[in-house]
Amino acid sequence: MSSLTDQTASELLERMRSGDVSAEQIAAACLDRIARHDPAVGAFLRVGGDEALAAAADVDRRRRGGQAVGLLGGLPVAVKDLICVRGQVTTCGSRMLANFVPPYDATVVERLRAADGVLLGKTNLDEFGMGGSTENSAFHPTRNPWDLERIPGGSSGGAAACVAARMAPLSLGTDTGGSIRQPSALCGVVGLKPTYGRVSRFGLVAFASSLDQIGPLARTAEDAALLLEAIAGHDPRDSTSAPAPVPPYSQTVRQPLSGLRLGRVREHYGEGLDEQLAAATEQALDVYRSLGAQIRDVSLPHSRYAIATYYIIAPCEASSNLARYDGAHYGHRTDERQMRADLRQEQRRLEAAGDTAGVDQLDTPLVRLYRQSRAEGFGAEVKRRIMLGTYALSAGYYDAYYLKALKTRRLIRGDYDQAFAEVDLIVGPCTPTAAFPLGAKLNDPLAMYLGDLYTVGTNLAGLAGISIPCGATREGWPIGLHLQAPAFEEDRLLRAAYMFQQVTAWHQRRPDLP
């Protein structure tokens, strides 16, 4: 059965259409591989084995009966656990939502079902999408299939790892500052962050609402095109969803682009970029040259401010988005009896000490319920960002931080607009380094944040970006090439990626799993 999981989604789809293999067989092969390898990798938080097999069997029945079958035709899809699935626990990688069962499907999940995608399970992530290593999951870390002692990247670490490990041909991730592209680069798969507004955010649990987008992860550009086509398009339930038509990506992806002009960003080759990655990126440019593309140097002068801008805007929005988790209406609530008993004890102690100011400042039971529930429900990175965002929005700091960041964001967008007047795509490294060991940056948040150097600009500007495998380090760890496109030009990204994959074999490398 392992040969099935080695095949790409497009190949599997073709075989299902020809009646050579059934959706149920494919789902079973994926489930089997998950059972064998996921204990070591930890890509999944939950696997919906029976539901997946039943859904696949249903597609098979309809296909056999000559009925119409959706675009995904019974292909298994893993879904990042930041996306709501009706009636199924959706944790966001957080203890806060360990038992939360949404009474509704995210729009992308509705569209997956409508396209006859088979939901395989929910993948692991950094809590609420905050992190670049998937070590911030409240449940377990995910490991990089290429080296189990290394991180898979994040926050969509489970989404990238499960595709790299051939547990699923397709998966959905979310990208706020690089959370699809960076783990795709580190795990050697294709990951696309669509233009802001291209894919509905309804049912995507918000981290930073003005930056979040859902996008596909797969092994090839064709497969990513297929999944993007299934989920993209206007949604009246998301006010920020663009009412723009969706091209048939799965059909156009094989059309080569002629006269392609690629912009090489000068600022991306500075300090911090590992020389092996720099070299791999340059070789990728040579590949494009050989395909007839012109390479020009372009400048994004404000890109050096992108991380600072991002780490103001994202925590500010997050501090507000995560205020709803207070233990009142859903989610984790602290043990109320214990909490009240603790409060009474604290009060007695303060009274005994004659500390009337302390008694005055003591939390009310309601405030303590909030604070204690949130203290227990959130992990360290989430708390750090909530504190950062709350501080930056608080009285007296708004102009210096948040407003300043919004203005810088405009300048960053302006850089892109200028660059795209001259080139069709911007190309460069996706990450400054390959996958690093687990725990290496856990206690150095700023170092972790700096890893987002090349990806956050896309989100700030609201554009589209893709990471495709373009090399490997001496140790064999994957390297990703980052392509960025103007708004709503996902088609151009996918076609350029397809062209590259037609003449390279980096995407065909597979990790050896024990």
Binding site: G203, S320, L393, A395
Partner: protein
């Protein structure tokens, strides 16, 4: 009054629920009175992943109201999050408008026909849209103090209308609220029911004093929990002397202490300080990334302006100019609402006598409506029928008191004026018969005839009474005229 050592300065913040069928950012019903938590969805519960989508009608009603309040409507407005924790606010923030509200710089004019305060133009700082919170109910049943939370109301559209501190007495505050409520009723944008919470008022009040060292303003106090206009009036009337006493005792001026919030206790008829934490006012407003801005064109504004119709102030002027009413009468009629005014106008136009129509509507129709606690659409006599009766009165076919009986009959039996008069046996009395009757009366009352001849014309009144005993339908004015002619005309 003239001896008061201080001037009261009041500004009001009014929250009005707009009459949309669904909520501001989701499509849950806004129907009042449903069982708790039966009108909620992932959006208004603030569930993870749910997103708001703005209600078109709420914008329309808000702009109409703002226009009626003479506000400017900027071409661009946006949504902001106001962050604070409260269990009836499930998202941990309220979607509101901060620095670019939907409207600003308006005014509402108030006046008192009884002249108790001078006519005043109360300036409106702004009117902006925001979502309402749910409801918390205190409950001790479980052996500990709990709150029960009902989120049915969460997300209902509110228009917050903030006035400048232009009001100078509790009476003016009440007049402002009454006029505002009337305006909202004319616009049909809100039910304005304080019992159901569709209109809520907070007041900011302080005092201006003249001291030997110059003018002084005392600290501003925000008064909440006022459940009726009368409560607002009383709370302010309580608050002013209390603040003066505090000033005498502490000498605290505006800026010396943080703004205090006090709650009105309607049972005890006093305000009490409300404790709240120092940090609670740091709302960390920022633009809501889930909602896009609203652009409003001049054409849209003009179209909505044309929809406004005649507003109370214009209507009062028209009633005075067209129907000859005095300000008091036009005020009484207009304050009853557009439907009653329409009724009045129909009666006045059909009868051709505005003043008489006004008197009958105010005295007869309104009395009936008050007794029955009914609105004009339930009044059994249509304007044409009432106008017919008034015409009969004007022509002297019936007198006023007999006319009331006729109207009473019309109300009870649902018949027209002519039919009612016929049933009551009212016919035009033949004038020759009347002359004969008067001649008999004059002959029987030489004393009265002598009095009239000596210049006491009012003595005729006694004859009118006697004539009506013998012929109930005789028109008193006619009797008087004939008698006078018989006595004086023969000379």
């Amino acid at each position: 009054m003239n001896a008061s050592p201080y001037e009261i300065v009041v500004g009001l913040e009014v929250h009005v629920q707009l009459k949309t069928r669904s909520k501001l950012f989701c499509r849950c019903s806004t129907q009042f009175g449903a069982p708790p938590n039966t009108q909620t969805c992932p959006v208004c519960i603030g569930m993870p992943g749910a997103l708001p989508v703005m209600n078109q009608e709420a914008i329309r009603l808000a702009i109409k109201t703002a226009l009626a309040l003479n506000c400017e409507i900027p071409a661009f407005t946006k949504w902001d999050r106001k962050n604070y924790y409260y269990p009836d606010l499930p998202k941990g923030y309220q979607i509101s408008q901060y620095d670019l509200p939907l409207s600003q710089h308006g005014f509402l004019e108030i006046q008192d026909p009884k002249g108790r305060f001078p006519a005043r133009r109360v300036r409106i700082i702004r009117a902006h849209l925001e979502e309402d919170a749910g409801k918390s109910m205190h409950d001790e049943a479980a052996g500990q103090a709990d709150s029960r939370i009902d989120l049915n109301r969460a997300g209902t559209p509110l228009l917050e209308i903030v006035s400048h501190p232009d009001l100078r007495s509790p009476l003016e505050a009440k007049a402002y609220l009454t006029e505002l409520k009337l305006l909202l009723g004319y616009l049909q944008v809100s039910d304005c029911n304080m019992q159901e919470g569709s209109l809520r008022v907070d007041a900011n009040i302080n005092l201006h004093l003249a001291t030997p060292d110059g003018p002084v303003a005392t600290p501003i106090v925000e008064v909440k929990n006022m459940n009726s206009f009368r409560a607002v009036e009383r709370a302010l009337a309580y608050e002013a002397p209390r603040q003066y006493q505090v000033w005498l005792e502490t000498g605290q001026r505006l800026g010396d202490v943080p703004k205090q919030t006090r709650g009105w206790d309607d049972q005890a008829q006093l305000t009490r300080a409300q404790r709240h934490k120092e940090e609670s006012s740091d709302y960390r407003y920022f633009p809501d990334p889930d909602l896009v801005p609203v652009r409003i064109t001049a054409q849209q504004v003009d179209a909505l302006r044309r929809e406004l119709g005649e507003l109370p102030a214009q209507l009062r002027q028209r009633l005075e100019a067209t129907y000859g009413l005095d300000p008091y009468d036009s005020d009484v009629l207009v304050n009853q609402g557009r439907e009653l005014v329409d009724y009045f106008i129909a009666v006045a136009d059909a009868s051709g006598d505005g003043k008489r129509a006004s008197n009958w509507v105010q005295q007869e129709v309104l009395r009936y409506l008050n007794e029955q606690s009914a609105t004009i659409d339930r009044y059994p006599v249509g304007p044409a029928a009432l106008a017919e009766l008034l015409a009969a009165v004007a022509q002297g076919l019936v007198d006023t008191s007999r006319g009331r009986e006729v109207l009473q009959y019309m109300v009870e039996r649902g018949v027209g004026a002519a039919a009612a008069m016929q049933h009551l046996g009212i016919q035009a009395v033949d004038s020759s018969e009347l002359v004969r009757l008067c001649q008999e009366l004059l002959a029987a009352n030489p004393r009265i005839v002598a009095d009239v001849r000596s210049g006491k014309q009012q003595a005729i009144g006694a004859l009118v009474g006697q004539a009506r005993k013998r012929s109930p339908n005789a028109n008193p004015a006619e009797i008087k005229r004939i008698c006078l002619e018989l006595i004086l005309g023969t000379e």
